[in-house]
């Protein structure tokens, strides 16, 4: 698993990257009430908004950590947005991207570096 400074995580299997938000982000957000997942087929560049996650008091963009094409979106989240709070780094994933360049993922922070980053906040 790799992490970004915007609190997204990426898990790579072959050329499919699964993306979600970290436990830290989910906790900061509070109870998640709604998730807007991307449409399958959407092409995103690194830094583009991939999804929107809403709590009662806030709406946050989830950014694509790397470029790719959406091949799957987690539709279950529309009925059970609380999954994001319960298991943010497993069942609470937002979308799967088919990516061109796996090296981009390697270049992101690993868990140790992310945790160090968190301690500076």
């Amino acid at each position: 698993m790799r992490f970004t400074k915007d609190h997204e995580w990426v898990a790579l299997e072959g050329d499919i990257a699964t993306i979600g938000i970290t436990a830290y982000a989910a906790e900061q957000l509070g109870d998640v009430v709604f998730v807007e997942v991307p449409e399958v087929g959407k092409v995103v560049a690194a830094g583009d908004s991939l999804a929107v996650v809403e709590s009662v008091k806030a709406a946050s963009d989830v950014y694509a950590p790397i470029a790719g094409e959406v091949v799957e979106a987690n539709a279950a989240l529309s009925d059970e947005p609380e999954t994001v709070n319960a298991v943010p780094e497993q069942g609470g994933w937002f979308a799967r991207l088919k990516i061109a360049d796996p090296a981009q993922v390697e270049a992101l922070m690993d868990r140790h570096a992310y945790e160090q980053y968190l301690s500076t906040l």
Binding site: S55, V56, A59
Partner: protein, 448 residues
């Protein structure tokens, strides 16, 4: 000054507690060049007697709708609001409370909004309604914006029967939002042109029924045509009492319904404050503008109500909000809801039937005046007539004779070439003698 409780002694003591020498010390950040000593063009403090005297004199220079035969409609309607409505809305806890952001101490307001939303959804025949908008015209404009968000298309077809003020308000907003508005020609039966105007880039068609000429239309076919093309049908109603007699827009297939709620609970007030009704299908609820009240439970498991789905609104989404609405029309929505509770189904249906009957009596009387042509075939409580003379001029003469005879269409849209068309309305407040006087006076003016 009667509204200012602080005494000179209070002020001195408080300045002492603050550690300031004078009140000017607290305004130290104001640039000296901007400090003003007084205003020569404005009067000084005045007691109630003086204020009342001046304002009563101004009010007396207006001719009230109730002072004689009166036949204006065209978007605002004179109805009898029961006396208890106005008393209830003046209760301190309703009049002087704020937006219900602290739900534990605002359940009065919140429960009213929940009931209001239910009443509006029932009247319009839709799944869900919001807690009110400023008025019907801004609700219409917001509905077009919503259709753009939902369909991601940028063309809106506005029927020629839509109230010209609503057209103009919608155009103003659409222009900046990049939505192209296509306004069809004004005509008594304008709805016949709508289907042909729908294309693959149409986000919505906006159809008013009863329209500004009074024409009541079954929009079922328009709904089907719009939806087949991937567009939304927005139905507009300016006379909310018509919901008591006519088939609801929801029943006819509308996607969004907007209406002016003024007729219920709220007086004419020279154009405002009014109350916009906004209702739509369930699947569009997250794209709705305006406030929404929802049901929930409290920490002890008791049912309560809160404002919800707030993430659509400006204070959270900021530059991604669904609209920039901050206020709804709370007290006017309360008045609407109280009046609706008093009427109930039985009373509303009866009231609507009465309005229609009065309009038919007016029709009958005016049809007998030589030279007058009734243009609207099927109407609720208002219709259009063609006069053999300029309608605005006839109106002015009739006003001089004590009859406020309606609204000349040229007042709303003078470029439509309908300077001889007069819009007339009758409600339950219209007396048979008013109608007789109107017909009689009209005859004299036309054939003078």
């Amino acid at each position: 000054m009667r509204y200012l409780p602080l005494t000179p002694a209070d002020r001195t003591e408080m300045l002492g507690a603050i550690g300031a020498g004078s009140i000017d010390d607290l305004f130290v950040d104001v640039p000296p060049a901007a400090r003003r000593e007084g205003f020569v063009d404005l009067p000084l403090v005045a007691g109630e007697l003086e204020v009342e005297r001046e304002m009563s004199a101004m009010a007396a220079r207006n001719r009230t709708a109730g002072s004689g035969p009166f036949f204006c409609g065209a978007g605002a309607y004179r109805h009898q609001v029961p006396a208890s409505v106005d008393h209830l809305i003046q209760r301190s806890e309703f009049l002087t409370s704020y937006t219900p952001y602290q739900p534990e101490i605002a359940q009065g307001t919140l429960q009213v909004l929940f009931e209001f939303q239910t009443q509006v959804a029932a009247l319009t025949g839709m799944d869900v309604a919001n807690a009110s908008m400023y008025d019907g015209s801004t609700a219409c404009a917001e509905a077009v914006m919503m259709a753009q968000r939902v369909t991601r298309r940028t063309r809106a077809v506005l029927s020629g029967g839509l109230h010209p003020h609503y057209v103009r308000t919608t155009e103003t907003l659409a222009h900046v939002a990049g939505v192209e508005t296509v306004r069809l020609s004004a005509a008594v039966d304008a709805e016949a042109d709508v289907i042909a105007a729908i294309d693959a880039n149409t986000a919505c068609v906006v159809v008013q029924t009863p329209n500004v000429f009074g024409t009541a239309t079954d929009v079922t076919k328009i709904a089907a045509a719009a939806q087949a093309a991937g567009a939304l049908l927005i139905v507009v109603t300016t006379e909310a009492i018509s919901f008591g007699l006519l088939k609801s827009p929801g029943e006819m297939g509308a996607d969004i319904v907007v209406a002016e709620g003024q007729s219920i609970g709220n007086g004419l007030n020279f154009g405002g404050p009014y109350v916009g009704l906004f209702a739509c299908k369930e699947k569009f609820v997250r794209q709705m503008p305006g406030r929404l009240c929802g049901e929930t439970v409290d920490a002890e498991g008791r049912r309560g109500f809160v404002l919800t789905l707030s993430t659509r609104e400006q204070h959270i989404r900021r530059d991604k909000a669904t609209s920039n609405i901050c206020t709804n029309s709370g007290l006017c929505a309360l008045a609407f809801s109280i009046h609706m509770s008093l009427l109930g189904e039985v009373g509303l249906r009866r009231l609507a039937a009465l309005n229609h009957q009065r309009a038919r009596e007016l029709h009958k009387a005016l049809a007998k005046v030589a030279g007058v042509e009734i243009l609207t075939p099927r109407y609720f409580n208002e219709f259009a007539v063609r006069l053999p003379k300029n309608a605005a001029a006839v109106l002015e003469t009739l006003a001089g004779n004590g009859v406020i005879a309606g609204v000349p269409f040229s007042r709303l849209d003078h470029g439509a070439g309908m300077d001889d068309v007069l819009l007339v309305c009758a409600t339950e407040t219209t007396l048979p003698e008013d109608i007789a006087i109107f017909a009689h006076s009209l005859e004299r003016v036309i054939h003078a």
